[in-house]
Symmetry: C2
Subunit: 187 residues, 2 copies
């Protein structure tokens, strides 16, 4: 086999990831068998496992990319844009996330690996939330930790409702309500 | 076999439910096999299936009871008490709920059955939310539907975070933030 350039390798890796994401969304984590991943990606299992050691690594690479995307969106563009991105996300892919909930609960190693998806996220988020409290854009009568936790809970709740197939037709009202909890409160 | 009185039957049914709940929490929905349910309940499969036609019916009876409990709490005592109850709930049991997410997404019959857990809940909640808007306890610049949806999203998000094993040490601050979104907003 001729040696592939780094560009070609990277492009193949990205193509495998995109097709695998669709496959996981269509069949779920367990249902996305290696045979189905081969069909979806058009790559042999040998080629796939050349890029990702296991199916779990392939899935975690997708989860890593998502975590980085949402973390950057949160930190760079604010929580409202996270809400909008979640409302635009493929519900089937969101569903795959929640299939791994049991594993997160029972598998300590997996939980540690999962928590490391966006490694510097916690620190960058802390800095951002502190700055937003400082400038008066976020309420400061509660700690930034609680504001961050609130936003995480809302994001997860929105994602799981969409994953379960529930529709929302009042996006703007919902965003208004969610955001009013984190803005400075008038006495 | 002597005929059992209604009281004895009802007590046995309740005992099977309580033990099955623990079994589902410990092993998950799939992992709670009939053999494990027999061990947990101390009842034979014949006795169990005398009360519940299938494992799914047994699980749905538990989900029905939970849905009724949370619906009544919401309507009678307010959303703050729902948050407190979720914070006190067994995380392992909450986890079982989210295992069925994929099924909810892909199985229309199951989704219809699931939506019927607390049949008159939607109407009672609507009446309650309208009354709370009327009396000025809830904000009225957005529709009651959006307020109800917000509270549902927060409840689901809190439940899934707890199910995934994350700890909260700022319960009171979190409740303050969540509730400030639904109270009348001062301009």
């Amino acid at each position: 086999m001729p040696k592939l350039s780094e560009e070609v390798k990277e492009a193949r890796r990205e193509a495998i990831l995109a097709a695998a994401r669709r496959c996981f969304a269509d069949y779920g984590y367990e249902g996305a068998t290696v045979a189905r991943l081969e069909t979806a990606t058009g790559a042999s299992r040998g080629a796939i496992f050349n890029y990702f050691a296991t199916k779990e690594e392939l899935f975690l690479a997708l989860a890593d990319a998502d975590a980085a995307r949402f973390a950057n969106l949160w930190i760079d563009s604010g929580f409202e844009q996270v809400l909008r991105a979640l409302l635009a996300e493929d519900p089937a892919w969101l569903g795959v996330y929640f299939e791994i909930g049991r594993r997160l609960r029972t598998d300590e190693q997996f939980r540690l690996r999962w928590a490391k998806r966006a490694p510097d996220f916690e620190q960058r988020l802390e800095e951002r939330l502190r700055a937003l409290q400082e400038s008066g854009e976020l309420r400061s009568d509660v700690g930034w930790q609680s504001l961050g936790r609130y936003m995480g809970i809302v994001a997860d709740g929105l994602a799981i409702r969409r994953a379960a197939g529930f529709q929302t037709d009042d996006t703007e009202a919902l965003i208004t309500v969610v955001l009013s909890a984190i803005r400075p409160q008038r006495a």
